[in-house]
Amino acid sequence: MSVATIIEKCRADNRAALIGYLPVGFPSVEGSISAMKVLVESGVDIIEIGVPYSDPVMDGPVIQDAAVRALAAGVHLTDIFTAAHEVSAAGAGALVMTYWNPVLRYGVERFAADLAAAGGAGLITPDLIPDEAGDWIAAADAHDLDKVFLVAPSSTPERLEAVTSQCRGFVYATAVMGVTGARASVGEAADALVSRTREHTDLPVCVGLGVSTGDQAAQVGRYADGVIVGSALVRCLTEADSDEQGLEALGALARELADGVRRGRS
């Protein structure tokens, strides 16, 4: 099922959807799945299940650190299928966020088939532009999966048209020029980018990069169809003294963000 359905339902409730990112495998595969379930219980609508990768050029220090530690702890690509199954069973949308090489190595068609079988909704691909995604687009269409590509403040109208025309699920608007990580303010570039993107598509437009507090979620949720939070959630786990404390902090932040998207438009 496309995550667009979930976002539509949130829109009917007059709020933005809340989308939370966590990498699979940190602090362990089981621990990361427990953390994803905590997010779902705390009001997160869609989980971005991150694939830890050795060379994450779009990620800032927090997510890099979690990826290094997850890989050192022995996470494997196939663990995301387990996570997708569990997240989906818990009642949230399960999107996988991955750099392209792990999918390429696994086999694009095989990956799509296994992800669909596990209950995954589709992929967010930070280093794959539609121009290079012929095989993925074909496999996603064959297996009824979402294709979430990114747009950026630097995107020209031509690029917005080219990218949004190949998306399914939603369009991922990166709020700032830069890598993942919490920022003091999300800035006006995001609002403008969402407006420019809407000129090219009727798909939901969700905003990520830099959101870390309930107030920011409320603010972004006023103009975006979904608010994406990553590093701030990951930090709850990487900076915790124990797994229990990490889950506690994670739940508290998720509830604050969930409250933010609910009061944003009221």
Partner: protein
């Protein structure tokens, strides 16, 4: 198994290449391609680049025949293309001057670069000083330690050097960090990528800025020996010096093109950078090419005595030359490279960069295979001044504390006794 079946040919060498980067960078790559394609047909740009090559780099670089070294190459004639004599000590300046001029044309004021051995970083810092650009160079922590002298050179030239502590702390991690900087600062900043990989148009553009190496060398060899060489040899890290000397010879079907990768401690040991021996096609740093990776698609760390060849991926055009059969690639071990390093130094009075020593070791093998009638053209891509410390340690000429070890000291072997 690859994705090459239904991708467009745009920016591709056969099935290799492409543009696997965040969308945020696409406008900058489009702008770069447009400005570059216009510049290379603009007499003003071409004239300025040629003037700098002549009056600043010192082009054309000479060729040197090395008969005493050639005695160890099966008696084949061995001719070196002396890119080591360029200003800044390697071929890297060819590409950097071109990209620095393009940076000015794009109205950008800041350049960033990655560097492994430090040669590309030094060249970029040099061009930035010459043209008044702000310069930041990313370098893996491990490389800053084994190439400390080049770090000092870059800082003396006014560049900021950032030591990268992520991952393997070598070249690939420096590239990651440069990409992160570029995404955040692309409006004011040009990424002077130092080799023939990365997203389109870098592989083609960097090759073209280095193509002058082969253009000059082909004519110089014709003038010297009256015929084309039997083989052109070069070391291959990312592969820019090799593409630079190979490209003019691609249509000369009688000329073998042979690239030498870092075999490290041996391909079977797993500690190497022999992408064409142990890598498989995949995506790294924006290009679809050969990548050393595990079953999950995670990049595997490379190893080499040479920082400049210590990279788990390789330029996509090399992947195409391999698969099309036009070029061949072989690993050279650390031991073989250091033996060639010592040999050229002692027989010809030329200290090669350890990177280039891999091509010299290749000449020793290929010369023995082809025999005394053969003519080999070897790209001496850089000089070995930066490697004196590494070589002195390798040959036991200095102690662990850096103090000199003289022949009467217990344990000092000296280069003559090395096998």
């Amino acid at each position: 198994m690859t994705t090459t079946s239904n991708v467009p040919a745009y920016g591709r060498f056969g099935g290799f290449g492409g543009r696997y980067v965040p969308e945020a960078l696409i406008p900058a790559l489009e702008q770069l391609e447009e400005v570059w394609r216009k510049a290379v047909v603009d007499p003003e740009f071409v004239g300025e680049l040629e003037r700098l090559q002549r009056t600043y780099t010192g082009r054309p670089s000479i060729i040197t025949e090395v008969p005493r070294f050639a005695e160890h190459c099966g008696g084949a004639r061995v001719i070196l293309k002396r890119e080591d004599l360029n200003h800044t000590g390697s071929h890297k300046i060819n590409n950097v001057l071109g990209q620095a001029l393009l940076t000015k044309r794009m109205g950008k004021t800041r350049v960033i670069a990655e560097t492994g051995a430090g040669q590309h970083g030094v060249a970029t810092a040099t061009a930035a000083a010459l043209l008044g650009l702000e310069c930041v160079v990313y370098m893996g922590r491990k490389d800053t330690e084994r190439q400390a002298l080049n770090v000092a050179r870059m800082r003396l030239l006014g560049a900021e050097v950032v030591a990268v502590d992520n991952g393997s702390k070598t070249l690939k991690d420096a590239v990651n960090e440069a990409f992160r900087d570029w995404v955040a600062n692309v409006e004011t900043t040009h990424y002077v990528l130092g080799t023939v990989t990365g997203p389109h148009p870098f592989p083609e553009m960097v090759r073209d800025f280095h193509r002058v190496i082969g253009v000059e060398a082909r004519q110089q060899v014709l003038d010297l020996v009256g015929r084309l060489p039997d083989a052109v040899l070069a070391c291959v890290g990312g592969g820019s010096n090799a593409m630079g000397i190979f490209h003019r010879f691609i249509d000369d079907r009688s000329v073998r093109l042979i690239g030498f990768e870092a075999g490290g401690e041996g391909v079977e040991s797993g500690k190497h950078a022999a992408r064409f021996s142990a890598g498989i096609p995949g995506v790294l740093h924006g290009a679809f090419t050969y990548v050393m990776q595990d079953e999950d698609g995670q990049t595997v760390e490379s190893h080499s005595v040479s920082a400049g060849l210590d990279y788990p991926s390789v330029g996509p055009e090399h992947a195409h030359l391999l698969e099309s059969g036009r070029a061949e690639y072989r690993p050279i071990s650390d031991v073989e490279a250091m033996e060639a390093f010592s040999l050229l130094s002692r027989t010809e009075g030329i200290l090669p960069a350890i990177e280039s020593a891999h091509a010299l070791a290749g000449a020793m093998k290929v010369g023995r295979e082809l025999g005394p009638d053969a003519v080999l053209l070897v790209n001496l891509s850089g000089r070995g001044d930066k490697d004196v410390h590494t070589a002195a340690e390798w040959f036991g000429l200095i102690g662990d504390d850096g103090s000199p070890r003289l022949p009467e000291d217990d344990g000092a072997k000296g280069m003559g006794e090395q096998q």
